[in-house]
Amino acid sequence: MKKNFKLENLDCANCAAKMEAAINKIDGVSAVISFMTSRLTLEAEDAYFEEAVETAQKAISKVEPDCLIVR
């Protein structure tokens, strides 16, 4: 499944790149973050999708604690 999320409080372009790299390190998850539109496109297996969003959020928080995936 592929889904598009809005990101709240995404403040810096380099952070966005770091988050993207961090999420792509998670097994079975691929992600693109567009800094200009503040959007995250996440792709993962249907069965693990919720879990994937959770782990992605954790990876994001590590880079920028205020940044949230809007669900």
């Binding site: 598009n4 403040d11 810096c12 372009a13 380099n14 952070c15 790149a17 770091k18 993207e20 790299a21 693109v32 973050i33 567009s34 800094f35 200009m36 539109t37 959007r39 496109t41 590590k62 880079v63 604690p65």
Partner: protein
């Protein structure tokens, strides 16, 4: 400016005042030194406390090389070395850069959302005769909606009552309004201008044009250009590398030489840290692409990703489909030539009857010109023969006669071997096996066709090619009228794919082949080309989905505009990368040599960022490409 940005601005101003006070107090005699120091610290805390806090917090999270950390380290280091003015300057300028960056990003986000201000907020739906205001998501297919003058049409549908004109400018960039009457399709996102209309909804909101376009634009920047990928990768290596160098500079030279003081080298190392932040680089590239995509949108050209913009800028060959792309696709009757036994009107009548069940554009054109209603009981039998034409039994002058309408092959099949030829599309008519006459059609070249080819040549397209299923003679006439370099005619759909593959094999590896079609029958070709462009995308889902770039209007000249925008945008992105890297590396080298002070480093960081951002914003300005 939002609240956060205003707060930041106030802090910066306050810090500048405090630093000015400190500098002033240094010059006066009799002021105690402590006051100066206190003022400096007050300034630093005002402007830099948040950064230092963030840096400390992020270290505990394992984010060592983040920009807060770098700035905190550089400034705290400067304070320890006693360089209070410079520590404050670095922090103040860093904050100015951040503020500037966030304002610039907001500005270009806003200009794009204004551009895409086509999302309808509500729909007036007729429910049991009463008008109710509903969320567009709640409206179903078949519902009847009322659209008043000045309102956006919330979803695609067909007019069932009233007449009006609609402004499609938000979607197409076209200023001329379109007329809409009962029976006409109207497209969501357009603005109703003059009259109240009732529209029967044919698509749910999520499937409507407006949703599709918004979706496409919002996702466009997630398909990243190569420059952008390069720069983010580069940033990942660059920062740690500069930091390591800083560490080496701080420690090794003093140890080796022994004679020189540590503080000199530490100062140089701190200079390194100031330059090591890659944010300017990382933001300036997507910012320019975002601007370019937004700018193209203003002209009615939707680009589905930064990567396509990049490929468009590298165009070498442009391949056009003929019908509907370079020509209007409506076949206008040019000439009706009847043999002696019939008048022109009779020939037209017979042809119209024979073709009355066909949906071919040529048949439609014949029926339209005939004008009168065909009486179905006069047609006894109709047989369509694929690739040939139509055979029909028609009552004419109280007799039942066989009529053949079709091409040269059809005539040969019934034993007529000699027919007149024309460079235009031609339809032959035979009655009872005898030649009765013919009708020729002109597929008119679009108004801006010749101009398109000229413009393409001017902006560096090496070759223009036209592909068509039409006959060779017709194709060559159109091509010479337009100034196209190469024509391939009489192609079946699969042949078009093969032609594209041939062109792809011939091209220079670094350049691209662009295909432009109407998006209806050429999806495989659109997919196969480096960049697939669909024309006249307004209201055609198939086109919007299959293509990489959609030209909302029917004007092929917009392709030239899009290429010009693409070239400008990629040019800006490249300038930013080269300029920023050159300055950064130059200042790094000067810093090692001890020539560059921290002030130069501040310029290499914040100054470059500001200039790169200003340069990026230029991409939004597309007025000269219209």
């Amino acid at each position: 400016m939002n609240k956060k940005q205003k707060r930041q601005l106030i802090r910066i101003i306050l810090a500048v005042v405090l630093v000015a006070g400190a500098l002033f107090s240094e010059m006066l005699v009799g002021i105690p030194k402590t006051l100066t120091t206190v003022l400096y610290f007050a300034a630093y805390i005002t402007v830099g406390l948040e950064t230092v806090q963030k840096a400390a917090r992020n270290i505990f999270r394992g984010q060592v090389f983040d920009e807060n950390f770098l700035m905190a380290l550089a400034t705290v280091g400067a304070i320890i070395l006693g360089e209070m003015t410079e520590a404050n300057a670095v922090m103040i300028f860093y904050q100015i850069g951040e503020l500037f960056e966030s304002c610039a990003v907001d500005k270009s986000r806003k200009s794009i959302s204004e551009l895409m201000d086509i999302r309808p907020d509500y729909a007036n739906v007729l429910r049991e005769g009463i008008e109710v205001k509903l969320d567009p998501y709640e409206v179903k297919i078949g519902d009847i909606i009322i659209v008043k003058p000045g309102e956006k049409i919330p979803m695609d549908g067909r007019v069932i009552e009233g007449r009006t004109s609609v402004d499609t400018a938000a979607l197409t960039g076209e200023a001329e309004p379109r007329a809409a009457e009962v029976g006409d399709e109207v497209i969501s996102g357009c603005i109703n201008m003059t009259g109240v209309i009732q529209v029967q909804v044919t698509k749910e909101f999520e499937e409507s044009t407006v949703s599709k376009i918004l979706n496409l634009v919002e996702n466009a920047t997630s398909k990243k250009a190569n420059v952008e990928k390069f720069i983010t990768k580069f940033a990942r290596v660059y920062t740690p590398l500069v930091c390591m160098s800083a560490l080496i500079i701080a420690v090794i030279p003093p140890l080796v030489s022994g004679g020189q003081e540590f503080s000199v080298w530490i100062y140089r190392a701190l200079t390194f840290l100031v330059i090591s932040c890659p944010c300017a680089l990382v933001i300036s590239v997507p910012l320019s692409f975002f601007g370019g995509i937004g700018g193209a949108g203003k002209l009615g050209v939707l680009i589905k990703g930064s990567n396509y913009l990049e490929a468009l800028a590298r165009v070498e060959t442009v391949v056009f489909d003929k019908t509907g792309t370079l020509t209007t696709g409506s076949f206008e009757i040019e000439e009706i030539i009847a043999e002696e036994a019939y008048t022109k009107e009779q020939l037209l009548e017979l042809t119209a009857y024979a073709e009355s069940y066909s949906h071919h554009p040529i048949s439609q054109s014949i029926i339209a010109v005939y004008g009168k209603k065909t009486e179905p009981d006069r047609i006894t039998a109709v047989k369509e023969i694929a690739g040939r034409g139509v055979e029909a039994l028609i009552r004419f002058r109280n007799k039942e006669i066989t009529v053949h309408v079709g091409n040269e092959k059809m005539m040969k099949d019934i034993g007529i071997f000699e027919v007149p030829i024309s460079e235009n599309t031609i339809v032959y008519v035979a009655v009872e096996g005898k030649f009765a006459g013919y009708i020729t059609f002109a597929d008119k070249v679009k108004k801006d066709g010749p101009e398109t080819i000229r413009k393409l040549k001017k902006i560096g397209v090496r070759r223009t090619v036209m592909l068509t299923g039409d006959r060779k003679r017709t194709a060559e006439k159109v091509a010479s009228e337009l100034g196209i370099d190469r024509v391939s005619a009489e192609l079946l759909p699969q042949d078009k794919v093969r032609e594209i593959e041939e062109l792809l094999a011939q091209k220079n590896e670094k350049r691209s082949v662009v295909f432009v079609g109407d998006g209806i029958n050429d999806a495989p070709v659109l997919a196969r080309a480096d960049v697939g462009v669909a024309m006249g995308g307004l209201g055609s889902d198939a086109a919007i989905e299959a293509a990489d770039i959609v030209i909302m209007t029917d004007e092929p000249s917009r392709l030239a505009s899009a290429i010009a925008i693409a070239k400008k945008t990629t040019g800006i992105a490249r300038q930013n990368v080269i300029f920023a890297l050159a300055i950064k590396f130059a200042v790094l080298a000067l810093a090692v040599a001890g020539v560059a002070s921290m002030w130069a480093a501040i310029f290499a960081d914040v100054g470059v960022a500001v200039l790169a951002i200003l340069n990026s914003i230029r991409a939004l300005n597309v007025s000269k490409f219209e």
